[in-house]
Every structure is written in structure tokens, then in C-alpha cells.
């Protein structure tokens, strides 16, 4: 394994995909965040607190810039995990080239570490969420993410250990085991009880759009790492030249 080349293409793929996420969000997600911030401002004004609108405009521009930086950092950090999983699953993934394999793994990881936690604890725009409960909500979200991630890891190990001889049975056992454990986690973990004081349309549109942009991020990450992999081939190492006399 060309370790340094592998680490570089992994992190660069994530940085690019994450930057794309931050930029796409400017177009698709920001209109909903701005609507939610407007509701927050109206609530603040209604409570009698002064709001400096000029300062708010500058502050929002700063936060929108921060979203792109955050996208790059988040993309790089997620790709670090994606790269490790890709190395150990590449031989088992379907697909004739690394772009296809990368895209398939990205789809699986989008499902396991974004979609499943989001179904239990969906994304919320600003104006939803009590600051007093943030640590509690963070714990629940991490809990769901960890349960989904480690369950997927466990069933992947079972999938490999069953081997080719039990090809048909593992197609049933593996997803069924994952589904049962996730269903139990959904039943046992408490729901987010914070009050939602914005319109159902704004809430639902925000959740749909953020799911789409996160899907685009994961897709871009898989294709980028697969493309770099096809060019760099970090799994191939050249043995020393042999001299036969």
C-alpha cells in the first residue's frame, strides 16, 4: 500500500466534496436558513430586545462564509473514515472500477451514518431547538450514529465470515440483523422533545433539501476517491527489481 498517496487522495477527495457541499448549500439551503433566522429576529423584537439589522446582515454573511469552511473541514474528516472503510471493503464491493465501487460504498455510508440517524433525529433549521437541551440532544444524536455505524460494521464482519458458500443466506441475515437492531434503537432511544414553533412547510422543505445536499456530498466523495484511486492505484506496490543470474 502506498500509504502517503492513499492518505493524500482520501483527504483531498473529502476537502473537494465538502467544499462542494458548502457551495451548494449557499444556493439550496440558505434560503430556508434565512427564513428561519427571520422568525428568530421577529421573536426577539416581539420580546422587546433591540436588533441591529445592519450588524445582523454582516453577521449572516460571516456565517455563510463559515459554512463553506465548515464544509471543507467536515468533508475532510468524513473522508478519513470513508478512506479506511474503502481500503478494507474494496475487494468485496461490486463494480468494475473504483468510481463505481466508491459510489456504492458512499451510498451505504450515507444510509448508515447520515440517513438512519436523521430519520430518528431529523435536521432542524434555526428557530428550532432549546439551547438548554443541546448537550442532551447531541448525546442522543451521537448515540444513534454510533449504534448505526457499529451495527453496520458488525454485520459487515458477519457478511465476510459467512463466505461465498452461504451467499444466499447472508443476503437475508445481514440486512435483517441490521434492521432489527436499528428498530430496537428507534424504540428505546427517546425522541427529540423540543418544541417546533415554525411552519410545517419550512421544516419539511429544510429537511428534504438538506438530505439532498448531503446525498450530493456523499456521491461526490465516492466518485472523487474512486477516480483518484483509479489514477494513483495506492493498493499497488512495486516489488524490488529481481536480478536472476
Amino acid at each position: 500500500m502506498k500509504t502517503l498517496a492513499f492518505i493524500l487522495i482520501t483527504l483531498i477527495s473529502g476537502a473537494i466534496a465538502g467544499t462542494i457541499l458548502g457551495l451548494i448549500n449557499q444556493l439550496l439551503v440558505e434560503p430556508y436558513i434565512d427564513q428561519a433566522i427571520e422568525i428568530e429576529v421577529q421573536n426577539t423584537v416581539a420580546s422587546g430586545e433591540p436588533v441591529d439589522l445592519d450588524e445582523l446582515v454582516q453577521y449572516r454573511l460571516w456565517q455563510k462564509g463559515g459554512e463553506i469552511v465548515a464544509g471543507t473541514i467536515l468533508g475532510t474528516s468524513i473522508s478519513a473514515l470513508f478512506g479506511i472503510v474503502y481500503v478494507y471493503s474494496r475487494d468485496s464491493l461490486p463494480g468494475s472500477n473504483n468510481k463505481k465501487k466508491g459510489l456504492i460504498l458512499a451510498g451505504i455510508m450515507f444510509f448508515v451514518i447520515f440517513l438512519i440517524p436523521a430519520l430518528k433525529y431529523p435536521a432542524n433549521p434555526p428557530a428550532v431547538g432549546d439551547p438548554e437541551t443541546i448537550e442532551y440532544r447531541e448525546s442522543l444524536y451521537i448515540g444513534m450514529l454510533v449504534i448505526s455505524g457499529f451495527t453496520a460494521l458488525g454485520v459487515a464482519i458477519i457478511y465476510r465470515s459467512l463466505g461465498q458458500s452461504r451467499k444466499e443466506s447472508r443476503k437475508i441475515i445481514v440486512p435483517a440483523t441490521y434492521a432489527v437492531i436499528i428498530a430496537l434503537a428507534f424504540a428505546v432511544l427517546p425522541n427529540n422533545s423540543d418544541e417546533v414553533a415554525i411552519s410545517a412547510d419550512l421544516l419539511m422543505n429544510f429537511r428534504i433539501v438538506t438530505t439532498i445536499t448531503m446525498g450530493i456530498f456523499w456521491g461526490a466523495l465516492g466518485i472523487l476517491l474512486g477516480s483518484f484511486w483509479d489514477v494513483v492505484k495506492p493498493h499497488e506496490t512495486r516489488a524490488p527489481k529481481l536480478r536472476t543470474v
Binding site: M1, L74, V87, T237, V245
Partner: protein, 72 residues
Amino acid sequence: MSNVNMLLVKESSGLPKIAIGVLLAILLFGMFIVGYDQGQLFSLVEGQKAFDDMWMHEFYHDLRHAAGFPCH
């Protein structure tokens, strides 16, 4: 006497532990500062002020919401 030069290409699928460690450290650090920091990191330098300012929370605020992390 003859010389035969052979170039062998072998495939290896493992990763050195140090590489896994570096990548996991990047994962945890990046996820923490973007998704969870409430002033903890800057408090190492600024003390209590960092928890009041929550600079990183505010700067990464929009992506926190958009990526599904709990916020506010």
C-alpha cells in the same frame, strides 16, 4: 551469465496502524469542531470567555444545521 530484470507489482489491502490512527484523529477532531464544539477548544486559551463567545459554533452554525447536527 544473464541478467533478467523483473518488475513485480503486488497488491496489498492492509493499512499501517499509524495511518489508521492519523485518519481517525482527523475524523474525530473535524467532527468535533464542526458539529459539537461549544467553546471547549478555544477555552484552552481563552478560558470561560470561549464558552460565552462560542466562536466555532457561530462560524460553523449554518453547516451544523444543514448537516443534521443538533444546534442551539
